[in-house]
Symmetry: C2
Subunit: 180 residues, 2 copies
């Protein structure tokens, strides 16, 4: 399955009204604090890799995960090697990575409020240091990616937003651009 | 608290009889499979560090942990920095470490049967590739370490074993010696 998503800057209060008018179902809110690391041996920004410790809080319950994302592979260039495991304790993982010479390069902290709207998931992201964004996404088999992108763009429009203002850079990328 | 322990080679069936005679309580059995890693940047055997993924099975329940042990520090040279966190999935951690350039150097697989005997814990270790060992241990405050070592030695003797045959090398060290 492929994730098809579109992200734009958006004022959340206006989008919330549009979601209510269209009868979207509110799924819930999650807070994520992601610490991205660089390796002692290589610059992950250059190698297109990422190593992340995520702390997540959902309805008062916290958990932590370690995620590695490898560089884009294959002909389509849309697939990455990805490994993710839950952690008993995120702070301990930080200490282990620190001891091994990994360096925290950036922290991305966001509150995500998710809605279900037809076949799409609409997420209102409030990102510390960046502001408010809306992401519309769905998952489809490889052959349906183009049609799904059309559908996602129509949903973006239906929320009063402009698909041509799509931001393809990740929040991590936007934060790193800001500090350069 | 300080861990005071003594490990000797021993035939388990003879020690089990001695434990029964002395009325030791059987605590339980745990199987541990430890994979030790070397860093892409440094040789942990040289730097006196260790990075380990442990898979443990206790009464049919499995779990995994990631542990980092730093080099000996301080004046007594008995203390190490140590960080340990539970993992949702040990195999995924292996994949992440592999992607980050860490190399598995040795696997230590053992079955540990634990008994409680007075103030001591007696562990019968069956280590794959090394054979049978018995470990007697206790935990005491810093000032009581010497007295505790005496006590541990007496318990070793009471099990029909010879404290002068103490093995101070870790199972990892013994396995690495064997392959050199």
């Amino acid at each position: 399955m492929y994730e098809v998503e579109m992200k734009v800057r958006a004022d959340h209060s206006a989008v919330r009204e549009a979601l209510a008018r269209r009868g979207a179902d509110r799924i819930g809110t999650v807070t994520q604090r992601d610490t991205y690391y660089d390796a002692p041996t290589r610059d992950f920004a250059e190698t297109d890799e990422a190593l992340r410790v995520r702390r997540e809080e959902r309805e008062g319950e916290g958990r932590a995960k370690l995620t590695y994302k490898g560089p884009l592979v294959g002909e389509t260039g849309k697939t990455r090697e990805e490994h993710e495991t839950e952690l008993g304790d995120g702070d301990t993982m930080d200490s282990i990575l620190d001891s091994l010479g990994f360096v925290p390069v950036e922290t991305v902290e966001k509150e995500r409020e998710r809605f279900s709207l037809g076949e799409h998931t609409v997420t209102l992201d409030g990102v510390v240091g960046l502001g408010e964004f809306v992401e519309v996404e769905t998952e489809v088999p490889e052959g349906e990616v183009d049609a799904a992108r059309e559908g996602v763009a129509r949903t973006v429009e239906s929320l009063g937003l402009d698909p041509s203002e799509e931001i393809r850079t990740s929040y991590l990328g936007l934060l790193l651009e800001g500090t350069r």
